[in-house]
Amino acid sequence: MRHRRYWAWTSVLALVLSACANQAPAATSGESTDAEPSAPVAGSEPPTGEGTALERAEAGEFDGTTVEILAQWVEAEADNFEGNLTDFAERTGIDINYEGITDYETVLNVRVEGGNAPDLAQIAQPGLMRSFQEDGALVNLSGFMDVGQLRSDYIESFIDLASVAGDLYGLYYKADLKSIVWYPNEAFTDAGYEVPETWDDLMALTDQIKADGSTPWCMTQEHGDATGWVATDWIEDVLLRTAPIETYDAWVTHEIPFDDPAIANAADIVGEVLFTEGNVYGGSTAINATFVGDAQNPMFAEGGPDCWLHKQAAWIPAFWPADESTDPPTPLFTPGEDSSFFYLPPIDEEFGRPVLGGGDMFVMFNDRPEVQAVLEFLATPEAAQHWIEAGGFVSPNNTVPQEWYSAYPSSGLAEILNEADALRFDASDTMPASVGQGTFWSGMIEWISADGANTEEVLAEIEDSWPAE
């Protein structure tokens, strides 16, 4: 008996010791395991040999190497993205291995912590990029990319967002514009409605639709554990239109408290739209209970639209009703023909025509010259061409020729982007994750459940939850 116990305790002790010995902080386990010995992970050195990595790749120097890319685009979007890369892969001989996973956040975290990070990964939230950078897992892109050139080629805010302390860590690739409202083309003209140019016109249109016996707004936000982000977009858009840009920036970086009067004011205006009786199809219960992709379905109802205005980004056509009997399902409605969008009108002329956007950036985990080459290629217009022509892609790169944006909705988005005075990134994506994707989202759920009665409490709670710096 004692004999057995002795062995049992020894083995447990051995395991405990080995476990404690492996309590290395997350930083060391996040570093890449196959970085070249000569190139440190943070701040890579310029590649040896003539020219930039991209030039050397085009010269065929990296023929036979493999680069791994991880992103959340699947099915049609994955095909579009890979279509962007086929010519490049053929020319240079680099084998580009793309993996698309919808739940890529989980997979990416596990792989990075386990030391098996992909070469390039797509990230939507700057907060996540900063978290990886703090752990030392990211390669400093300023080491080999011409940041000055990028600054002039790209919309400036996208370079600032992807930088930490002056060093560039992410390359923005795809931009989303959220300040658009979809409407049913034919029904609009039939009913004699016009696209509103000002906020007052929009409110008048809302009342007009109600007077004509229908419900003006479609809005839903149920999205599993991401429920609540749609309302955050509403508040951000209205804040941009009712307060100076500096207020928005200060709000995102917590220089002003979350429940600053400017935000409370924006929330009240949003509340006027969403909580006035008969404004939203299905009422507040529908907002919280219906899936975000189903929001626009009532617009395509048989007997005419049951709701007429849907504020949502340009990826929503992928969720419109489709004929499920074919594989892949054939869409029944076309953007531009059945439903187009207009720019969400400014509220106060003083603040111009701001645009709220989101985007996807690529970050680099493993520093090898062929990975540098692929990343440099992604910064060129050619790397976006196939997807732009397939539709539904807007590049933050200004050197992309305007003629490529011929298909709706990209053409409409490019137009709005051109006429915009300022572009700001989605605040809930930029704030620290525990606020932006935690308390801000759940706060919005409560706000909608209470029909906007508890605006001050909700904003104060979110302010309290901000992590101490």
Partner: protein, 394 residues
């Protein structure tokens, strides 16, 4: 006159036995090496393609090999190959390892053999448990103490943050209602079904939900609880029945605290079958003389049930209750799939997932895991004590 007998030496070992004695350990070593190589091989992304090309080249079918080099193989073929390799390596490899290790251990003297042989058989299992269970547990406890703000900040967060407090409250609710509900319902059904004619059929229907994964059950019930605006046709059974009486549809999953009870119902639906089966076996295992004696003494059925049956199967009830309790404390899938923890349905396991993967706050996540672990330990102790009292274990 003394007889002289030839000296008797050790028995001569025949060639077959000799071969077996040498081959077995060698085969074991080879099998270990094969397992090691296969794991490395299976980890490569193009492993099945490489394997097929290699096989075709070795056999001499150049054309086929080149075709694969050019076009690759369909992904279903790739998955099948991976499955077959894993099966071969896993089953045959492990079998050969055991045979070889056993043969090697038997070559030792009787003393050493007695000591070593048990370890040969439970060694691999212990090793796997140690690596995949004990080590992560200790590592997590370490993370909760060192990561982020340290012990005070992490555990302070767990007991002060609004969302985690909701999660803790919900877990307590789940523990009481889901466990109590499953066991009570299981007990009642087991007793009632005992006298029914088509007993096996009835039991099958109650037991069937246990075969469904929690995720599958959560998806099913998500549709059951679906909500459409009033006036629209209701696609969820719950609301279809509710509106048939003329009321407005209820957003079962979005209205707190109703939604927590709705989710607990899913768990009860899943676990009642398990409770019923165990308790039914226990009830049938009771000696009928005791019940006869109680009846003769004039006891009513309900008295028999509460005063005779339940105390007699107490051991089984505790076993069932503790097993279900552990499963309930760990609940994640149901909450994740239906509401994602929103609308005040948060539970500790889901919160841990969110803290880890969305917020990348490893210290908080580890602290939540430790709290859950500590909550389960007393239940485990009760379970083990109960098993010992029933005569299992030493």
């Amino acid at each position: 006159m003394t007889t002289v007998t030839a000296p008797v030496g050790p028995p001569r070992v025949g060639p077959v036995q000799l071969a077996r004695r040498i081959l077995a350990p060698v085969a074991a070593m080879a099998a270990l090496f094969a397992i090691w190589w296969s794991i490395g091989f299976l980890a490569q992304p193009d492993a099945p393609t490489t394997l097929l090309i290699g096989l075709y080249d070795a056999v001499g079918l150049r054309g086929e090999a080149d075709a694969i080099r050019a076009y690759g193989i369909p992904s279903i073929a790739s998955k099948l190959i991976l499955g077959v390799v894993a099966l071969l390596v896993g089953v045959i490899g492990v079998w050969v390892v055991y045979i070889g290790a056993n043969a090697a251990a038997e070559r030792l003297g009787p003393d050493w053999r007695r000591r070593v042989l048990p370890w040969v058989f439970i060694g691999p299992a212990l090793l796997l448990l140690g690596v995949f269970l004990v080590f992560p547990t200790v590592s997590t406890v370490g993370t909760s103490l060192t990561e982020g703000g340290g012990l005070v900040e992490n555990f302070g967060f767990v007991f002060s943050d609004r969302d985690t407090l909701i999660a803790l409250r919900n877990n307590a609710l789940w523990l009481l209602l889901a466990t109590g509900g499953s066991v009570a319902l299981g007990l009642v059904i087991a007793t009632l079904v005992d006298r029914v004619r088509r007993e096996a059929l009835a039991k099958t229907f109650i037991f069937l939900p246990l075969a469904i994964s929690m995720v599958g059950a959560a998806v099913i019930w998500r549709f059951v609880y679906a909500w459409q605006p009033p006036g629209q046709p209701q696609i969820g059974i719950a609301n279809a029945a509710w509106t048939a009486t003329g009321s407005d549809p209820v957003a079962w999953l979005q209205v707190a605290p109703l939604n927590t009870f709705a989710l607990i119902l899913i768990m009860v639906w899943l676990q009642t079958g398990f409770a019923m089966v165990i308790l039914s076996a226990a009830i049938k295992g009771m000696p009928w003389e005791v019940i006869e004696a109680a009846r003769i003494d004039g006891a009513r059925e309900s008295q028999i049930f509460f005063r005779v049956v339940v105390p007699m199967i107490r051991g089984s009830i505790i076993t069932v209750a503790t097993t279900i309790a552990i499963a309930v404390l760990k609940v994640f899938d149901i909450v994740f799939v239906t509401t994602g923890g929103r609308f005040e349905t948060e539970v500790v396991a889901n919160r841990m997932f969110t803290e880890f993967f969305r917020f990348r706050n490893f210290g908080h996540a580890a602290a939540l895991a430790v709290v859950l672990f500590v909550a389960v330990v007393p239940i485990m102790i009760i379970n083990v004590r109960n098993l010992r009292r029933q005569g299992f274990g030493s």
